[in-house]
């Protein structure tokens, strides 16, 4: 444990330290990391899209546009906050908070790295809940209320349609998403996210490659449903700009709009992080059981940092795929989206669970 933490512990006593100071410090650290990631994710998105679309992307603010996110935040903060006269005010105000809050809360249970000396023998997580998977699902469900409330509270027909679309879409896709998470659960036999990573470590396999493709199928279902959950292309119907102007956030401006924006990106990160944890071995380095690949464990770094590095690298790969989708695909239509969710993903998820159970029993 670093010396300044020990000093704090000496001052406040062990009880207060472990129940108040340590979690607050970890929350602060996680928020700083995640909010910075989100800020630079927007820049990365614009840069990568620019690369895909044969243009430059932002390059005016700072070198290579590196200060663009800061400028954006400053702009959004000083913009006038407009609440439409006939909006339902409490819903209008509550909507964005309900979107961004749960998305950030989920981060509490994500293990970013292995237990190590840097964190004083604790894991790189804020809370190791033994039913973390249920917690993730429960919190993800709350996010949809934010969209519905925002869309309904704006008192705008386009917003209302956007809110309704998001309600139908997110509830439909939560079913296959939740079911697909049962598969790694069955494989690991625990609901703790730390435990699942540890199980992958012990079984020497990432669950995406486990059980002859069953893991891959579950991963596929989870990821497609996850893209739909986070309202990204090609499933960005609730905010389809060419149809519904801006969908549920048509009437929002300034920081309230930024909260929706933040929520969307936080959702992307959360869904990617859960996918990394459950299917891609979390903080485990690739080829951990191969002797030739020993250098990949990055033993020159402190153990925790190496794990964090691998976790972050996998996360970035996921986020890149999200952006890549946006640059490539047209948008689904509403009925087609529902058909895809109920007719393809749900049966696929159910079949995967059954087959996994069979394999497990045999």
């Amino acid at each position: 444990m670093p010396r300044f933490l020990e000093a704090i512990e000496d001052v406040v006593g062990a009880t207060i330290f472990y129940f108040a100071v340590s979690p607050l410090l970890k929350i602060a650290a996680a928020l700083v990391v995640v909010l910075t990631t989100i800020a630079y994710l927007t820049l990365a998105e614009r840069k990568i899209l620019g690369f895909i679309q044969a243009r430059v992307g932002p390059n005016r603010v700072g070198p290579w546009g590196l200060f663009q996110p800061i400028a954006d935040v400053a702009k959004l903060l000083v913009k006038e906050d407009i609440v439409p006269q006939r909006a339902i005010k409490w819903a209008f105000v509550l909507g964005p908070c309900l979107v961004v809050g749960p998305a950030l809360v989920i981060l509490a249970v994500i293990p970013f790295g292995p237990p190590s000396d840097v964190t004083g023998g604790m894991g790189w997580h804020i809370a190791d809940v033994n039913v973390a998977l249920l917690f993730v699902l429960a919190m993800a469900t709350i996010g949809v209320y934010g969209l519905i409330l925002g869309g309904w509270g704006s008192n705008n027909k386009f917003s209302l349609l956007g809110g309704l679309r998001s309600a139908a879409q997110m509830i439909s896709y939560e079913v296959p998403q939740g079911l697909s998470l049962v598969v790694p659960l069955l494989m690991a036999g625990t609901m703790s996210l730390n435990g699942i990573v540890q199980a992958q470590h012990d079984q020497h396999v990432w669950y995406v490659f486990n059980y002859w493709g069953l893991g891959l199928a579950a991963f596929f279902v989870y990821f497609v449903a996850g893209v739909a959950e986070s309202n990204r292309n090609p499933f960005d119907l609730p905010e389809a700009e060419s149809e519904l102007v801006a969908g549920f956030h048509t009437e929002y401006s300034g920081m309230r709009f930024a909260l929706f924006f933040l929520g969307e990106y936080a959702n992307m990160i959360v869904i990617s992080a859960v996918a990394v944890t459950l299917f891609l071995g979390g903080w485990l380095p690739p080829f951990a059981n191969q002797s030739w690949a020993g250098f990949l464990s990055l033993s020159f770094l402190p153990a925790g940092l190496a794990g964090f590095f691998w976790f972050f690298l996998k996360l970035i790969a996921f986020l890149f795929v999200y952006i890549w989708f946006r640059g490539t695909f047209p948008r689904y239509r509403f009925d087609q989206l529902m058909a895809l969710g109920w007719k393809w993903l749900l049966p696929m998820a159910l079949a995967t669970i059954m087959l996994t159970g069979l394999v497990k029993v045999l």
Binding site: Q53, L161, A240, S242, L244, T328, F329, P330, R333, Q336
Partner: protein, 379 residues
């Protein structure tokens, strides 16, 4: 098409809810300008659509009557402002037929060149907006990259990029600049590979097909009765193109095909336009090859007067359909009456038929496939 002000005649829906009236536009990202649609929706399903146009009305037809024949060309630029050259051509063609002027061959070829390049640029803009309406963002930037080269060619020829004003009754105002043909040939050589790029992104894309196949059906009888022309008609299985049917300028001296597809849906109209771009490329290449030497302006009176009691209709194949001019002369230097036959206006009229019973998302796709320009509809 019923009056939207009358209360909903349909029965109440399952849950006793009423239909909702959605005001689509005039400020809406997908209405391509200032089109306004009153859409009655049942959930997301469209019960009825009532287009309201006229927000961009500038009285162009009145202005035609106020100005002499020569000075009217710039007014035509401002109707379909993404296809100025074909508007110019339709107007000067009508004036030439009214007054009996015959255009020299080099001018005819230059006109053909310009109007085919204009067709390319108009179709590129259509593809960009159509794709972005359906949610594919990337083709927008690719097509604008190529459109920029065409606009540069226009700028080099006549100094303007959009409002070209590049034709005069009697011929062409300027000859091609030195090196223009080489630059044009270079672009045309390269362009088919660019079309392959666009098609690679969209043509076999499953989502693109899902969004366009079977959407916005337009049977040929309906299309004809509504006066729909151009790619919309050819996507409905009518192989008719004024460039072949009633050739004008140099179109009877170049070789090209008229693409036609038979499924009457948005996807087929997309295919028609993509194939038209390839054919336009062929036409431009042939024009560059055959471009004759010689004068570019016919002998014409200094003040052009429409003969007394004369009237003529002349239509050409514009990028969006048949654009025609009906001009009445009365012996004065101004047209007595100059009516524009606007292709977008008549094509838009069929929109309520095409979207009835479909979803709001399809409405957007169908507006995109109709390829309207409000400057021309409202005039």
């Amino acid at each position: 098409m019923t009056d939207p002000n009358t209360p909903s005649a349909g029965p109440e829906t399952l849950f006793g809810l009423e239909e909702m009236e959605l005001n689509f536009g005039p400020q809406h990202p997908a209405t391509h300008g200032v089109l306004r649609l009153k859409v009655r929706v049942d959930g997301e399903r469209i019960v009825d659509t009532y287009p309201i146009v006229g927000y961009l009305h500038r009285g162009t037809e009145k202005l035609f009557e106020l100005h002499p024949f020569f000075q009217n060309v710039p007014h035509t630029d401002r109707m379909d402002y993404v296809a100025a050259a074909t508007n110019n051509l339709a107007y000067v063609g009508a004036v030439e037929r009214l007054t009996g002027i015959v255009v020299p061959p080099r001018a005819r070829y230059i006109r053909t060149l310009l109007s085919e390049l204009q067709r390319l640029s108009s179709h590129l803009l259509w593809l960009a907006t159509h794709a972005i309406d359906i949610g594919a963002m990337t083709p927008f930037f690719y097509t604008f990259r190529e459109r920029e080269i065409i606009l540069d060619l226009f700028e080099e020829y006549c100094g303007a990029r959009l409002t070209l004003n590049c034709m005069r009754p009697g011929g062409q105002p300027y000859d091609l600049t030195v090196g223009w043909t080489e630059r044009c040939a270079e672009f045309i050589d390269d362009f088919p590979s660019k079309i392959d790029d666009y098609e690679g992104l969209l043509t076999e894309n499953r989502i693109w097909k899902k969004r366009t196949v079977g959407v916005g059906m337009l049977p040929p009888e309906v299309a004809m009765a509504y006066g729909v022309t151009g790619p919309m008609l050819r996507g409905s299985g009518v192989q008719w193109d004024l460039r072949k049917a009633i050739p004008y300028e140099a179109y009877d001296e170049v070789d090209f095909d008229v693409p036609v597809f038979y499924n009457c849906d948005t996807y087929d109209r997309y295919l028609v336009r993509m194939e038209e771009m390839r054919q336009s490329t062929r036409i431009v290449a042939q024009c560059l090859e055959k471009l004759p030497e010689g004068p570019i302006m016919a002998k014409r009176p200094r003040v052009l007067k429409g003969p007394k009691e004369s009237e003529v209709y002349f239509g050409i194949e514009g990028p969006k359909g048949e654009i025609g001019f009906y001009i009445v002369g009365d012996g004065s230097p101004n047209p007595y009456r100059c009516r524009v036959r606007p292709p977008s206006f008549l094509n838009l009229q069929v929109l309520p038929e095409m979207v009835k019973g479909q979803l709001v998302a399809d409405l957007v796709a169908v507006i995109g496939t109709t390829d309207i320009v409000l400057g021309e509809i409202d005039r």
